[in-house]
């Protein structure tokens, strides 16, 4: 019995180690490829220099590109992908709706309104940056959706409908501000930001994104058994002893905060939160204790790779990452769907 337990335990640990190694290799790969290819050895030496002062001889410019630009960008992409995927998995599990995604709660719409309020209307008189504006906007929109769904009554349908209403309202406000006040140049910039953009990302963003992603994942993971209990709906979860209301508040709040932070750093990257959880379910099934970590891993790997693509695919130009996630993700998802049906 103890042997069996420890076997399961070591399996878990080794799986985690493999996952972390995979993530590290992908991050290093992302730091090495780009407009100027930098050898893997230089990447590893640079990381060693920064992390434990290894004192390797490296080209200063190469080291600067690897550490200051590419690596910070890759780590933020990973945090962002993990957060969005986990938020999506949690909302799909909790609301029992396969089409739920993190932007359902009005967060990306609110973020865009906040961002244009700062960038175009000049709200906050130069003190607030675009990110802070987006963060505040997303929280306002989420508060609006939450209040609306509380007013509309219990049930998951109320939350989804309130989210649709909130998103439409805030998107309309964004469009209103952009068409009324923005110049063509500003409008293009805003559109670029809305589709997701990692170019401006540096280390300070990492120190925000990474802790949020890790803490969010840990909290949601702690609720994985409760999420399983929602398999047959809300009343069934209650009859299995799950404190339903607390689970709703904690999990939806957690998903909303993770999403809001990520959106305010990199814009609203679509597709990840909706599709990655389905892909993860295809690999490991619906148990949330496996689904949440695997979603996080796939989301992180996917977004890091998507970012590399967005830098490489058109020489001399960076495409919005949201375009890439949908361009790669949609066919990949179609494959999984068809394959999954065959398996059934």
């Amino acid at each position: 019995m103890i042997g069996l337990l420890s076997l399961a335990f070591t399996n878990r640990i080794s799986a985690t180690l493999v996952a972390l190694m995979l993530l590290c290799v992908t991050l290093a790969f992302a730091a090495s490829v780009g407009e100027t290819a930098i050898p893997m050895q230089t990447v590893i030496n640079t990381i060693a220099n920064h992390v434990w002062n290894a004192g390797h001889e490296v080209d200063v410019i190469d080291a600067g590109i690897v550490w200051n630009y590419r690596l910070s960008r890759a780590v933020v992409a990973a945090s962002c992908g993990a957060s969005l995927a986990v938020a999506g998995a949690v909302l799909q599990g909790l609301l029992r709706n396969a089409l739920a995604d993190p932007y359902l709660l009005g967060i990306s719409a609110g973020a865009s309104t906040g961002a244009v309020s700062v960038a175009i209307l000049g709200l906050g008189a130069g003190v607030l940056g675009l990110s802070v504006g987006a963060f505040i906007g997303s929280l306002v929109a989420f508060a609006f959706v939450a209040l609306l769904s509380l007013q509309a009554g219990r049930g998951t349908g109320a939350i989804i409908l309130a989210g649709v209403a909130g998103s439409q309202l805030f998107n309309a406000m964004t469009s209103f501000i952009v068409t009324k006040s923005a110049s063509a140049e500003e409008a293009r910039g805003i559109m670029f930001w809305l589709l997701g953009n990692l170019s401006g990302v540096r280390w300070p963003d990492v120190w925000l994104a990474l802790p949020v992603a890790i803490v969010g994942l840990v909290i949601c993971f702690g609720y994985s058994r409760a999420l399983d209990a929602f398999t047959f709906g809300r009343d069934s979860a209650a009859s299995l002893g799950v404190p339903v209301r607390r689970a709703y508040v904690v999990l939806i709040g957690c998903a909303a905060l993770m999403t809001a932070v990520m959106v305010s750093i990199v814009g609203s990257i679509g597709f990840v939160g909706l599709v990655i959880p389905h892909a993860a379910r295809f690999f490991v099934g619906t148990r949330h204790s496996a689904l949440l970590p695997v979603s996080a891993l796939i989301g992180a790997l996917f977004l890091v790779c998507a970012d590399v693509f967005s830098r490489m695919i058109v020489p001399g130009q960076v495409l919005p990452i949201g375009v890439i996630t949908a361009l790669i993700g949609a066919p990949a998802f179609a494959l999984i769907l068809c394959h999954g049906r065959v398996l059934r």
Binding site: R225, T231, S239
Partner: protein, 278 residues
């Protein structure tokens, strides 16, 4: 081991769904809950199961108010099977039944071999062990219902509450489920639609009407032509069951339903005819 409601009201908004219900479930019995659609059966079941708190009055388990017991502890003592609970997830029968262990698991007490054993026993009890690896959506309605009951049994409850467990099943599976439930070593409260099933399987029957508990007693006491007429609006004869001594069976009379409405309608038709002739 007692589960009871004392003067319980439950209201949705300003509308009272159940009013002043006092009922005590006896240990070991099979208590049937009958009543027309909208008479408050489902609400009463969910108050008994602690899913809804009474707006007035008390729900009491072993002398302690349900609301003070706590969700987790309650789930270890009362199993609840809803009317229709489905899922889009691709889960196996074993996984679905394993959910019943939720109230016993935590970070400090993870899944153990004991949990495996309890799940296997629950599958045995509903005769579904041979199908333990089947995927949920490949099951028939009767099999799904058995899995739900097994999930509730995996909670190792003292009380098993079933809300219309035989809905949408064919007659063989309806009788199969009820037969199975009667054999289980737990106290059962089941809302039932079919009065003959209530007559066949229940030790006692509680009859709801318009949110009130109209009467409670043995099937012979409750299932009498007067009650069937007043509460359900049907005319019927109740006869002793020759094969199962001590039980009764109901024979409905065709054309006996809603006699008032029918006769009104015939009169109306006659009036229209008269008008046309005139």
């Amino acid at each position: 081991m007692s589960l009871e409601l004392q003067n319980v009201d439950w209201q949705a908004g300003f509308k009272k769904i159940i009013t002043d219900v006092t009922i005590a479930v006896k240990p070991g019995e099979f208590l049937g809950l009958i009543g027309p659609n909208g008479s408050g059966k489902t609400t009463l079941m969910s108050v008994l199961g602690g899913l809804r708190r009474p707006s007035r009055g008390d729900a009491i388990l072993d002398g302690q108010a349900l609301k003070s017991i706590g969700r987790r502890n309650l789930a270890r003592r009362i199993g609840f099977v809803e009317q229709q609970a489905d899922t889009i997830d691709r889960i196996t029968v074993t996984e679905a039944v394993s959910l019943g262990r939720t109230p016993y698991l935590s970070l400090l007490s993870p899944w153990s071999q004991n949990d495996d054993a309890v799940v296997d026993d629950a599958l045995d009890a509903v005769d579904m062990r041979s199908m333990k690896d089947r995927i949920w959506h490949t099951l028939s309605g009767g099999e799904k219902q058995r899995v739900h009951i097994a999930r509730a049994l995996a909670q190792e409850p003292e009380f098993l509450l079933l809300d219309e467990p035989t809905n949408h099943l064919d007659i063989r599976h309806q009788l199969g489920i009820l037969e199975l439930v009667r054999r289980l070593p737990v106290t059962v409260v089941a809302a039932l639609h079919d009065l003959n099933h209530a007559a066949m399987f229940c030790d006692r029957i509680a009859m709801m009407d318009g949110g009130k508990l109209r009467a409670i007693g043995t099937p012979q006491d409750i299932l009498i032509p007067e009650n069937l007429r007043d509460v359900f609006g049907v005319s019927a004869t109740v006869e002793p069951d020759d094969i199962h001594p001590g039980r009764c069976m109901i024979r409905y009379h065709a054309g006996g339903a809603n006699t008032d409405v029918v006769s009104d309608f015939t009169e109306m038709k006659a009036d229209i005819k008269k008008d046309r002739i005139a």
